[in-house]
């Protein structure tokens, strides 16, 4: 089980542990064994993310923000790049170990941002989160989103038949970035079927979602909640 390195100073993380983007960062911090203090930003009730104090940190009013002493970083994929680069020397090598590895990690992180995220995000919003924010989810939009996601997963199935993880045979920032939204779609929207019917995707999901760091994060972010064991 990854624990925070005592010689690495803690960072401050503004966000909420159940948020997709905050989760992305927390997972990276856990993998790199960097301790953090979570500063809760209530995006539902008190709408802290719209208040002036938060907007000074993040002008777009979006969580998370990482504060490393006097330096602030926002945009979750920029934050995870920063942590992975700063702490290259310890924890999981999330950029791989060669220049070629890094090129592949950058490529698959872009694939996640440009292809996977736009396909999965509407489904998760309309099926799960819309009601939490007082809005009506649209099942037609969710269906179209899942159709788009299945086309992306068809490509992933081919890629993952050649390598264990997306960027190669090593777990990287690219795989990590997929965890939060996928978890919601499988465990809350109960759409694990679209992953299970693609054997290499299924195997990949089982591998990344059973990492002790991810399990630790889920137990903190969703205390008392049961998660289906992948592959069951």
């Amino acid at each position: 089980m990854a624990t925070a390195s005592s010689h690495v100073p803690k960072v401050k993380l503004y966000g909420v542990p159940y948020s997709v983007c905050t989760s992305r960062v927390i997972m990276c911090l856990l993998e790199k064994q960097v301790g953090y203090d979570l500063q809760v930003v209530d995006i539902v009730k008190t709408q802290d993310h719209k208040k002036p104090e938060f907007l000074k940190l993040q002008p777009f009013g979006i969580i998370p923000v990482l504060q490393d002493k006097d330096f602030s970083v926002f945009e979750s994929r920029a934050i995870i790049r920063y942590i992975a680069r700063k702490h290259e020397g310890h924890g999981t090598p999330l950029y791989g170990t060669s220049e070629k590895d890094k090129a592949m990690v950058d490529q698959w992180l872009e694939v996640e941002a440009q292809n996977y995220n736009p396909a999965i995000a509407p489904a998760v919003w309309h099926l799960i989160h819309a009601p939490l924010f007082g809005q009506q989810g649209d099942p037609t939009v969710a269906k179209a989103s899942i159709e788009k996601l299945e086309k992306v997963l068809d490509v992933y199935e081919g890629v993952l038949s050649q390598s264990k993880y997306l960027a190669g045979d090593f777990f990287s920032l690219a795989d990590l970035s997929h965890l939060p939204f996928t978890q919601y779609l499988i465990n809350d929207a109960k759409r694990g079927d679209i992953f299970d019917k693609r054997p290499h995707v299924k195997e990949w999901w089982k591998s990344i979602s059973t990492r002790p760091t991810w399990i630790k994060h889920l137990s903190v972010a969703f205390p008392g909640k049961n998660f289906d064991s992948p592959g069951s």
Binding site: F60, A78, E99, K102, D106
Partner: protein, 219 residues
């Protein structure tokens, strides 16, 4: 053996790859690929998503334009324009604004452009909704650029570069929308004039094919 870029120079994403290569004082061979050519077995073996650009550097194949740009910058670090700082904090600033481009700027701009590129009758409600989103994002850019010359600081970087081709296609497809979102903002306008004045960019748009999308089918 040099760099090969598969794609069509009219694509803003191919332009990202091209501009990065030129900024590093390097050159590349453009292997033309468009529409049905992107779905051949040969092309899909390079990019299973069937999209351009694809960069080939010897045995290495890289796709996703922003990843191609990052690879080129890293490979030719120390020559041409430094597009990604070595300093960790400055690097983070570049990555922040590269993500803002990717997540907040590109989607509304592309949504507007897609209407003009692929529809005989562009959907005004889609254009207006996207334009509203874009204006809110550019309000923040205006404040940012009032404090520093470029997005990540007083140095030109990949974060600025990633915006150039999309702004170009928007301007070509709708000068009206472009003027109202860009020219109306003093610092954004100044930044745009500066970054599009770079020789690498002028070289790309000096060829007519770079601004010709007339071949695209419209529904």
């Amino acid at each position: 053996m040099g760099l090969t870029v598969h794609g069509d120079i009219c694509s803003p994403f191919v332009k990202i790859a091209a501009m990065t290569i030129y900024e590093k004082n390097e050159d590349f061979e453009l292997v033309f690929a468009r529409l049905s050519l992107l779905k051949t077995e040969e092309f899909l073996a390079k990019n299973p998503f069937g999209r351009m650009p694809v960069l080939e550097d010897g045995d290495l194949v890289v796709f996703e334009s922003r990843a191609v740009a990052r690879y080129v910058e890293a490979k030719f670090e120390g020559q041409g324009t430094p597009l990604m700082p070595a300093n960790l904090k400055e690097q983070a600033l570049v990555n922040i604004w590269a993500e803002v481009e990717s997540q907040s700027f590109c989607p509304p701009v592309w949504a507007i452009c897609s209407q003009f590129l692929s529809k005989k009758v562009p959907d005004v409600s889609v254009i207006e909704a996207s334009r509203e989103k874009l204006e809110k994002v550019l309000d923040i850019y205006e404040i940012q650029l009032s404090k520093r010359k470029y997005l990540a600081g007083d140095f030109f970087s990949l974060a600025d570069l990633f915006h150039i081709p999309l702004l170009h296609i928007l301007q070509c497809l709708s000068e009206d929308i472009f003027r109202s979102v860009i020219n109306s903002r003093t610092y954004v306008h100044k930044w745009h004039q500066d970054i599009t004045n770079r020789p690498s960019w002028k070289r790309i748009i000096s060829v007519p094919e770079a601004s010709d999308w007339s071949f695209l089918p419209k529904v």
